[in-house]
């Protein structure tokens, strides 16, 4: 059996890893992902705290806080609600790091471009902050990403090109840098401004307010991408995303990070809509859908495996189990993935992909049938299973119950595969022990013969 396992592992390494690596190592996807994690996520998480308070899970408390609700939501609106603005900075900054160029200037320029793209060129004085807010957050994410990439790449193109302003050598380098940025900055600002002017000279009747509303770049982009947001919030899309995540992890690549770089703008759009009206929220496929309800104990829902390992007959699995226990509480499972190992292990890869697909199916059913409140709150993925299900649903105990059911399902499905793999490892360990023993016996015999000869 171990021969087959080794041969298929080699096969995977040769034919499977390279194409997946190509997607995963795309520099734009990496920059977008870094921007989300480093620049946007802290704002999202901080803002979510205020969202929880404003929609308190305890009815008595909720009733008491009701008159202050819109006041409590101000910190949420101006942190979580501005995430696209800061994402623009983050994407430009992170991309500049990968390109090894100065990151702050393209970051600032990206924010300026983002604002120009978001505000209609005419009638600025008639607009309120509230009119603009949706497009500075969840509905402006795509614009944020695009202007972020544009800003860094155009600045890089101009640095050292013949269009750059040439200054004498005596000019201090800081002054020089400011002038170098000037040409691409003016060029990009003009470009986005003219584009916005053209687009915002067209208008439509807003179905929600029945008011004549000017188009803007984010509104137009949302119109184009709206079908995609709807398609993404579906069962087939959820399965596709989880399969891709687990395929990547199966060859040892951080699947969540790769899929997130593409899917997070959609997840965030959906959860922002949920958070805006938690009582009537319907969006299902969001970040907590995966991090909180599917990856219990880490990607692949490996929590039960850790328990199995602690009492395993294989010494390798017992060693891994001991190390894996602490991190598992906080949903970190690299010890499991590389220690069992799950990655590049053709036997364990089967449940490693299958179990999350089953769990995603259960989750989708539970949310779409209204058995559990859909996720409305984002929190760090390190919040332990049990508590996190309650928080994510805005205080629905059935959220925790769903997690518990998923854990049982995971435990049952992993068990036969775990036992089969354990047998392979125990056989290997016994073979190694026997070899050691044989070697010791042979050596002892040789020593005896040598003494006898003498």
């Amino acid at each position: 059996m171990s021969g087959v396992i080794e041969r298929s592992a080699e096969w995977f390494e040769r034919y499977f890893v390279p194409p997946l690596s190509v997607i995963a190592s795309n520099v734009y996807l990496q920059a977008i992902r870094d921007a989300f994690i480093i620049f946007t996520l802290p704002l999202v998480l901080a803002g979510s705290l205020f969202l929880i308070v404003a929609n308190a899970p305890v009815p008595a408390l909720a009733a008491w806080l009701q008159p202050y609700q819109s006041a409590i939501l101000v910190p949420y609106d101006l942190s979580f609600g501005l995430m696209a603005l800061f994402l623009a900075f983050g994407v430009a900054y992170s991309l500049a790091q990968y390109r090894r160029t100065e990151p702050v200037q393209p970051g600032i320029l990206a924010m300026v471009l983002f604002l120009i793209a978001t505000v209609p060129v005419n009638g600025l004085e008639k607009m309120t902050v509230g009119d603009l807010l949706p497009y500075l957050g969840g509905e402006g994410l795509l614009v944020g990403i695009l202007v972020g990439i544009l800003s860094t790449e155009v600045m890089r193109l101009f640095r050292g090109s013949r269009f750059a302003i040439k200054l004498p050598k005596t000019v201090p380098s800081n002054v020089k840098r400011a002038f170098e940025a000037l040409v691409p900055a003016v060029l990009l600002i003009t470009l986005i401004w003219v584009l916005e002017w053209f687009i915002s000279s067209h208008s439509f009747i807003d179905p929600a307010t029945h008011k004549q509303t000017a188009y803007t770049i984010p509104i137009l982009l949302m119109r184009i991408f709206e079908p995609l947001v709807l398609v993404q919030d579906s069962y087939p899309a959820a399965v596709l995303e989880i399969v891709l995540m687990m395929l990547l992890w199966s060859v040892g690549i951080h699947g969540m990070n790769v899929v997130m770089a593409i899917a997070l703008p959609f997840w965030l759009s959906t959860i922002t809509a949920n958070a805006a009206d938690p009582a009537h929220a319907t969006g299902i496929v969001t970040e907590p859908f995966f991090h909180i309800f599917s990856h219990l104990g880490g990607s692949g829902a490996t929590w039960p495996l850790v328990i199995y390992m602690l009492r395993s007959r294989s010494s390798q699995l017992r060693t891994v189990g001991k190390v894996a226990l602490g991190p598992a509480i906080f949903n970190i499972n690299e010890p499991v993935t590389f220690g069992v190992p799950m990655a590049l292990n053709p036997l364990m890869m089967i449940p490693f992909i299958l179990v999350p697909v089953v769990i995603v199916t259960i989750n989708y059913l539970a949310f779409s049938l209204g058995l559990v409140h859909v996720p409305v709150v984002m929190q760090p993925f390190t919040v332990p299973v049990g508590i996190s299900g309650f928080i994510a649903t805005g205080g629905d105990v059935r959220g925790s119950l769903l997690q518990a059911i998923n854990l049982v399902v995971s435990a049952l499905l992993y068990y036969p595969f775990f036992k089969a793999w354990e047998r392979v490892l125990v056989a290997r360990e016994e073979a190694t022990a026997r070899q050691e023993e044989n070697r010791a016996t042979v050596q002892a015999e040789m020593r005896i013969r040598a003494t006898v000869k003498r």
């Binding site: 190592s25 040892g252 690549i253 990070n257 190992p341």
Partner: protein
């Protein structure tokens, strides 16, 4: 003082290895400074270290990470996945010391 950058993904799981690696170095009375960075931060700050290690879950980025490190003459290695899994600071420390020894040998040759 040897400064090590471990290039990783979130820095969540790697921080466990960083602690274990620093503890192993202290026990061996070796001055070691270890930092876990994302690939982007690494590209921006590679000059600040002597040794580059790559966490196994981002080995798909190995080529680009290695290219940058070798262009600056910094030795780089992929952390053995099982050592990473068991957060074995002792074994990773040995990997670091081998890389340091490799650099010194190279300097003597030159």
């Amino acid at each position: 003082m040897v400064r090590v950058i471990i290039v990783c993904s979130w820095g969540m799981s790697t921080s466990l290895l960083v602690d274990s690696l620093v503890a192993a170095a202290e026990a061996a009375q070796i001055e070691l400074q270890v930092e876990a960075l994302s690939a982007g931060e690494y590209a921006a700050r590679v000059e600040e270290c002597e040794i580059v290690l790559i966490a196994p879950q981002i080995r798909h980025l190995r080529k680009s990470i290695e290219k940058l490190a070798t262009s600056l003459g910094k030795p780089v290695a992929l952390i053995e996945p099982f050592y990473y899994a068991t957060m074995n600071g002792q074994a990773v420390l040995e990997q670091v010391l081998l890389l340091v020894a490799g650099v010194q040998e190279g300097e003597e040759d030159a």
